[in-house]
Symmetry: C2
Subunit: 349 residues, 2 copies
DNA sequence: AAAAATTCCGTGAACGTGCACGATAGTCTA
DNA sequence: TAGACTATCGTGCACGTTCACGGAATTTTT
């Protein structure tokens, strides 16, 4: 309550210095003797001093900047949602004197990511927000950010063995794989599930790995004799995709279960439409317009989604809070809810 | 961009008055001639002037207050979630010099609501946030708030024929009833669904009315010959509840479908446990701890939920924004997503 | 027409922080 | 020991509002 009435001058008096000195230790920009710094820190502690954000904002001139390092995208793609969320967050923090900048790379090209990350370091922003599509390269980049004392925040995917990130927000990925498996098999008996098709995209450092692991765990536990077939498709080549799918259906005419762990289930539109009439359960991820359209048509049964926009907006918010008040978030790992979308509740999403 | 560089002094110069006068028209607190007021308004318009929120916050001394008018509650009840959300919002706007106060009433007692609403008017807060449990009384109260120029915001439920509210946030209630019906009947054929039990609580001005209408619409359309039986229970009398339920199951030994439109499905714990083993589909609302527990036990199949906490926190945020900048929200009706909870995805909610 | 009342409006001191500037004391060089 | 340097610190203006105070202009009263 009244803690908010304590000003930098109260602290200065208590520490026996001037407000200039208190300010210097607050933003640790040096030029303070160890002795005074200690006194000031003690005074801050004892008075429970919290700087007034608004006075601070009013007085500081130089705008801070956050860089969002993310894949370039085309319309209707998953990353477009992420982008929109960032833009929402940008609008909210704009009046906090915080600018959001973007740097894009090719999600299928590691070197493209590396050179983009170089540019980030050159720009020396106040903070970075990014997904971790390439585990290794992202890890290296994160270490360099750490050295440069630039805080960074993961969205959607993170580097598993990194421990210096400011925060992460995304779906619990193994769990989402399990939920996916549970929804795919519904209340089928053990004998019902003999063959499952997993459609995948061949790429370096598959970001859906953990999701697949969760999926397989569930299947192995509950349907031990089910066979899982991988179908690899090329997202840039519809003809190849349709051919692969046709080949699969020819080989497995009674195929009933199909799943895809990324947001691209819409790539199967033609293949699924061609098989319309067969009894099939198809589960995909993310509420992209084209995916929703497939669900309307009855070609996809369930989509597992998250509130991507809100999630990335929150990442911006958190980073902005940190830049302003240097307060780290209480919980670093923010798991969002695994939303189940069916044709019943999709329209209100 | 640079519009934010325009200050109240720029406006004053352009209008040929002093900043004091500009401030007076900004907060229309009188003592300004019609002529100057017009000039100032024109200058504001032309310069596209937007007051600096932080300078404003810093300079203003008197804290504003928002009153949350809501039902009193016991632990684990739906309204506890709402309350927690309000508290979250309160924490966020606290440093904006905005205080949140609560006023509670008995949700089963109209007069209790009326007298509580009187107290609100006496307190003359900057804004009010409330659900509309009693349509008529709330409508009257809303009109008096309107007269007193106190903005108000609906959460969860709103008054249907009110058009002066600042905003509303809640679930699309008829739709939620439809989703409920769809989930209850799953992929049953028409012959499967002969009898449906709707468990209700007898009270004045049932707030679940629209949800029930949506439900009935769906059933009538898709299962025209299904019979719907109402079971009325007293939430304060478990013995009566169990007796009513037993009576129903005796009369309908093959009952397979049961639903409850409020958050109290947990009141049926004993009755459902006693019937364990029978094949039943039970759908309820809201992710209360006790409801989730029933789902874990397999006594409830689906819970339809919303992010109550976030929803009420957002209400506070919106009201706070309005009090500070007088900007009304772009969309008044905020519909939240209808979340489907099953045992598969409940743990991450 | 002077006095009183009223309406209207300008002035300047806050609000709490950031930061440039310059001051002070102590240290070092020659 | 004077001058130059360095490390450390205090001072005061700026940021864009709000609002109390009092003055000027206008109208009303006597």
């Amino acid at each position: 309550m009244e803690s908010s009435k304590i000003t930098i001058i109260d602290v200065a008096k208590k520490a026996g210095v001037s407000k200039g000195t208190v300010d210097r230790v607050l933003h640790n920009r040096g030029e303070v003797s160890a002795k005074s710094a200690e006194k000031v820190r003690k005074a801050i502690e004892e008075l429970n001093f919290v700087p007034n954000v608004y006075a601070s904002l009013l007085a500081s001139k130089k705008p801070k900047t956050i860089i969002c390092l993310m894949p370039e995208f085309t319309e209707g793609e998953f990353w477009e949602k992420e982008y929109k969320g960032f833009m929402m967050g940008a609008a909210q923090v704009k009046e906090l004197n915080i600018n959001i900048e973007f740097l894009f790379y090719d999600q299928y090209d590691t070197t493209s990511f590396v050179s983009a990350s170089e540019k980030v370091l050159e720009a020396a922003p106040g903070g970075v927000i990014m997904p971790a599509l390439f585990q290794e390269e992202t890890h290296k980049f994160a270490q360099r950010l750490q050295e440069a004392e630039i805080p960074y925040f993961y969205v959607d995917t993170k580097v598993m063995d990194d421990d210096n990130f400011l925060g992460y927000i995304g779906m619990p990925r193994r769990d989402s794989g399990k939920v996916c498996a549970a929804l795919l098999t519904g209340n089928c008996s053990v004998d019902d599930v003999k063959e499952i098709a997993v459609v995948r995209i061949k790429r370096e450092g598959d970001p859906t790995k953990r999701r697949r692991i969760g999926f397989m765990d569930y299947i192995k536990e509950n349907f031990p004799q089910a066979k899982v077939t991988n179908i690899f498709i090329d997202p840039a080549d519809p003809a190849q995709t349709n051919a692969e799918m046709a080949k699969y259906f020819e080989k497995h005419p009674k195929a009933r279960f199909m799943v895809m762990f990324n947001s691209r289930i819409h790539l199967l539109a033609d293949a699924l439409a061609a098989r319309k009439g067969h009894r099939m359960t198809v589960v995909g991820f993310d509420d992209l317009p084209r995916n929703l359209e497939l669900m309307r048509q009855g070609l996809v049964n369930v989509l597992i989604a998250q509130h991507t926009e809100e999630q990335s907006a929150r990442a911006i918010q958190t980073m902005a809070d940190y830049l302003i008040s240097k307060k780290k978030p209480e919980v670093r790992d923010n798991y969002v809810h695994i939303d189940i979308l069916t044709r019943h509740n999709m329209e209100n999403y």
